[in-house]
Amino acid sequence: MEPKSVKDFITIRPSRGKIKVSWAFSIFKKIEEDGRVTCFIPSFDIYYSVDTNDAGIIAEKGRTITRMFVDHFFEHTKSMKNFALEIHKRGFKARNDAYTIKEFIKNNVSSAKFKFEDGDIVDGYTDKVTQKSEIEVSV
């Protein structure tokens, strides 16, 4: 069976002294024996679980947890360098990737779209659901 492909991305757009961060991510789920549902977001490399198979609740928790991941860099470590390096390590790549990442590390932030290149999915997970989120942050 061919691996399922994932079209996830993160975009960063400077706007009036702030930075708009948008992202799309895919959630794969696995229903456990007791009915709990394990969810996996390959691009962000995040696992979580919910106690229902309700697609809305699965998506909402995915949005919350990816938001907390993004917040970790912009609200707590306040570092574009760390964020750029982390998403690069997780497999998100921009056009002219090395140049773009090096500029971000120097805090020369321009509009960029980082696409997730690795589409391999862990065995046993099914039912891809794609979600989008967006926040505005200060760095």
């Binding site: 456990e32 394990t38 996996f40 696992y47 679980s49 919350t64 947890i65 982390e86 046993g124």
Partner: protein, 76 residues
């Protein structure tokens, strides 16, 4: 079989090289951020009292603690 979340946290935090960074809460979701053995940033969902087996095994792999999968989740 699910794994007790607080025990899971005690186990991973007892291992030298696993660094707890911070915890966060938003819209009913509790998470803890860790740096794993190879410096990997790992986000652990601690919302529920127990973790599903797939969730716990996934965290162990991310943290670089694969060897614990067989001992904490022995095959029947």
């Amino acid at each position: 079989m699910n794994y007790d979340t607080s025990l899971f946290i005690e186990i991973i935090e007892s291992i030298p090289g696993i660094n707890f960074l911070r915890s966060d809460y938003k819209d009913g979701v509790h998470v803890r951020f860790y740096q794993g053995l190879l410096g990997r940033l790992v986000v652990i969902d601690t919302t529920f009292e127990d973790l599903t087996p797939s969730q716990a095994k996934g965290y162990l792999r991310q943290l670089g603690l694969d060897y614990l999968i067989d001992t904490l989740f022995p095959r029947k």
